[in-house]
């Protein structure tokens, strides 16, 4: 009798547990459903759409849409110098931007982590450019570096230059403006990431090091850097991906000029193949092919980066 009661209780328990699990599963599915729908509608569908039309001549006109196989890709590799030039410029831009931004953000984060007076104010100020729209940043920097802009006025006033500089007439000068605008826009978020990582480094480590007679530089080199290495890896990856994806800033400030020399690969694609930016009857199929190829190249870069930086995850 007793064993029957226990087995009934067990059966009820199992039934209840199953019911809870089912409800839990259902609510889990419901919670991920909006994201999943969003993913299929706005990521997967456009992705497959682009892959499909990369194999087509497609101008938006029905009679001018037909399958051409890999011809678009062949053209990219055999004819299109502009695409490869924009891709090379993307790497140059990303290297310079990351090279400037990461050390700058790290230094500022270390300074803010000292608990100095007014740290909160500076933290907010550093983060502020990150929430300003790219269009506004474009207008600010275009005007600042315009021929009659404030930068030239200050340089002339203090005798640094005798006549105004035409900042957008050559590639190096235009790249300086773009890099400054881009770094100004995004260094704040990296300061926040670094600060969060620095605050997780136990103080005891520094105290022990001090007892052992370690100097500031040694502590930074031997404790801080290794301790924030896993986060550093993520920050660096986000910065590289962000830099490679830069396009709106280029379109707003230089429009790819002078003579298309400051285009990154994405601003090049947007300006030449996205309806609204490009000519009315452009071959969107070719634009899709450049986009697919770019995605593959960026994917390879990410894989290489993850391989090369794998050691950063397990220093400690």
């Amino acid at each position: 009798m007793k064993s029957t009661t226990i087995s009934l209780k067990n059966a009820n328990f199992i039934k209840n547990t199953k019911s809870i699990n089912q409800r839990s599963q259902l609510s889990s599915f419901l919670m991920v459903l909006p994201q999943t729908i969003g993913f299929f509608l706005f990521t997967a569908y456009p992705l497959f759409w682009a892959i499909r039309f990369a194999l087509y001549n497609y101008t938006g006109v029905v009679t001018d849409t037909y399958f051409i196989g890999l011809q678009n890709f062949v053209k990219i590799f055999t004819v299109d110098i502009k695409y490869w030039s924009a891709l090379l410029n993307t790497f140059l831009f990303a290297s310079l931007k990351t090279g400037m931004e990461i050390p700058f953000a790290l230094v500022l984060a270390v300074l803010l982590n000292q608990g100095l007076k007014g740290s909160g104010f500076y933290r907010s100020m550093f983060y502020l450019p990150n929430i300003i729209s790219i269009a506004i940043i474009g207008v600010i920097f275009s005007n600042m570096f315009g021929y009659f802009g404030v930068v030239n006025s200050i340089f002339i006033k203090y005798g640094i230059i005798s006549s105004p500089i035409d900042w957008f007439s050559t590639k190096p000068k235009a790249m300086i403006v773009l890099l400054l605008a881009s770094v100004w826009n995004s260094f704040g978020i990296n300061v926040m990431y670094f600060l969060a990582a620095l605050q997780n480094v136990p103080n005891e480590l520094y105290e022990c090091a001090k007892l052992d007679g370690a100097g500031r530089f040694t502590m930074f080199h031997k404790i801080t850097v290794p301790m924030i290495a896993p986060v550093f890896k993520i920050i660096l990856m986000l910065s590289i991906i962000g830099s490679l994806n830069t396009n709106d800033l280029i379109l707003v400030i230089t429009g790819g000029g002078p003579a298309g020399k400051t285009h990154t690969v994405l601003s090049f694609i947007v300006k030449n193949f996205v309806p609204g930016f490009a000519d009315a009857k452009v071959n969107i199929g070719y634009g899709c092919a450049t986009a697919v190829l770019t995605a593959i190249i960026f994917g390879i870069i990410t894989v290489i980066y993850n391989k090369l930086s794998s050691k950063l995850s397990d220093i400690y």
């Binding site: 101008t59 006109v61 035409d166 030449n272």
Partner: protein, 461 residues
């Protein structure tokens, strides 16, 4: 799958995009038929809404028609694509002829009862631009966007470029443009002869291709030979290089888009700028010009060899094929005729919204309070032509003509002659590839043996 996704997207769009426009082609109470019209023309929205309202209360009421006029300011082609996919298309709309005619979504005027008689009221020459490759007409020209050279009268007076009465004399030739630009440039005073918005995406189109039609008679595609030919742009490209050599242009041209360039023209001492009739609104309302300015016909390389200027045709609307079945051809055509009518063209001209394609319509209209430049740009219709069809080619992956000018010619890397040789070669090669494509449009559709003869500007024009 595609249809399902389109329907889901459309249901979301319905709330925002289609809000306020209602469903098309509704007959209410068996009396009034609603006819929906979609247009991107936001500049004339308020005036059109008033005129449509008047029509609905008068002629429309008599004929049992109510026009629902909707201005779709944001990317009308995309909205139309979704609407057609889900059967929510309007009855009439503005768009690109080849896109909708090739897909059979619009109906030809010839296929509507009374259509041929209606077309007979137009000059054959005027209908060339709305004729599709199948030989049928899907719309008719209504309004025009003309081109001209805007010039700062105060600057011309200041530097003594005036006639015996002290009135400014704008340049008639490129030689004069260069000469006057040089005279009016004085960096110490902040005075510059001309402004060139080289950063503008359509710089080549707006400041070289279209203005150079006065020299060549056509725009890069010669309808008499059926070949691409850039030689007609040589003189204008050389003018720009000359202006660059003289340093008589507003500095920072490479970083200058059209809006900042227009703002600079309005704000400070700049002698000349190529412009379009829509710039009237810019220099009167958006960036009110601080100077006294005028509009001159486009300068030419050789004053004795001048062709008609380029102008664009606007206001053309198409009739949706499905609407013929839903509301009947008669009512649909009635609205079509009204939105392309002389009466509406004159009303919109008086309000400063549209320049009629038929120049004679406004000959006797005196506008006392017209905005500066409006009459001058309207008069340009008489010396302009719009029917230069260009065979579409695909030069993806190669340097476009704009890139050749900015990257090679302007920078001095390549001479104008070499650039033209290269362009002629590459564009004609692309033309041959396009002609070899399956379903390629026949070249004959783009040919016109009398084109140059008709494009010549005679003394009487």
């Amino acid at each position: 799958m595609k249809k399902t996704i389109s329907l889901i997207l459309l249901s979301m769009l319905l709330i925002t995009v289609l809000a306020g426009c209602g469903k098309s082609s509704i007959t209410t109470g068996g009396q009034i038929t609603e006819v929906t019209v979609w247009t991107p023309n936001s500049h004339s929205k308020a005036v059109m809404e008033r005129l449509v309202n008047e029509y609905n209360k008068t002629t429309g009421k008599e004929n049992g028609i109510k026009i629902i006029y909707c201005v779709k300011e944001n990317n009308l082609p995309s909205v139309l694509e979704s609407a057609f996919a889900s059967g929510q298309e309007p009855d009439l709309f503005t768009g690109v002829l080849s896109t909708y005619a090739s897909s059979g979504q619009i109906v030809a005027i010839e296929d509507i009862p009374g259509g041929n008689e209606y077309l007979a009221t137009f000059r054959k020459e005027d209908l060339k631009i709305t004729k599709y490759v199948d030989g049928k007409h899907y719309s008719v020209p209504f309004s025009a966007t003309t081109r001209g050279l805007v010039y700062n009268k105060d600057m011309f007076k200041k530097y003594g470029i005036v006639d015996e009465n002290g009135e400014p004399t704008p340049p008639k030739t490129y030689e004069e443009v260069r000469k006057y630009a040089k005279i009016m440039t004085d960096e110490s005073k902040g005075d510059y002869g001309i402004i060139l918005p080289l950063k503008m995406a359509g710089f080549y189109n707006a400041d070289i291709r279209e203005p150079a039609r006065v020299d060549a008679g056509f725009m890069q595609f010669n309808p008499t030979t059926g070949r691409y030919d850039f030689s007609g742009t040589k003189a204008l490209m050389e003018l720009y290089l000359g202006v660059k050599e003289d340093k008589s242009f507003f500095p920072g041209a490479e970083g200058l888009d059209n809006d900042p360039a227009r703002a600079q023209f309005a704000e400070r001492n700049i002698g000349m700028k190529y412009a379009s009739s829509f710039d009237v609104g810019v220099y009167n309302d958006q960036f009110p010009a601080k100077c006294d300015w005028g509009v001159a016909p486009l300068p030419v390389a050789d004053i004795n060899n001048r062709y008609k200027q380029s102008m664009s045709v606007g206001g053309v609307a198409f009739m949706t094929k499905t609407s013929v079945e839903k509301i009947g051809a008669e009512k649909l055509f009635e609205v079509f005729k009204w939105i392309h009518s002389d009466e509406l063209a004159i009303a919109l001209y008086k309000e400063g919204c549209e320049i009629p394609y038929k120049a004679s319509l406004v000959d006797d209209i005196n506008l006392d309070n017209a905005k500066a430049g409006w009459k001058e740009f309207s008069n340009m219709v008489k010396i302009s032509s719009s029917n230069n069809k260009i065979y579409p080619i695909d030069i993806s992956g190669e340097k476009s003509v704009q890139e050749v000018f900015l990257e090679d010619v302007w920078t001095g890397k390549v001479s104008v002659d070499d650039a033209i040789l290269d362009l002629n070669k590459r564009y004609n090669k692309a033309l041959e590839s396009s002609l070899a494509k399956p379903n390629a449009n026949p070249l004959e559709y783009y040919l016109d043996s009398d084109f140059l003869k008709n494009a010549k500007l005679e003394e009487t024009d």
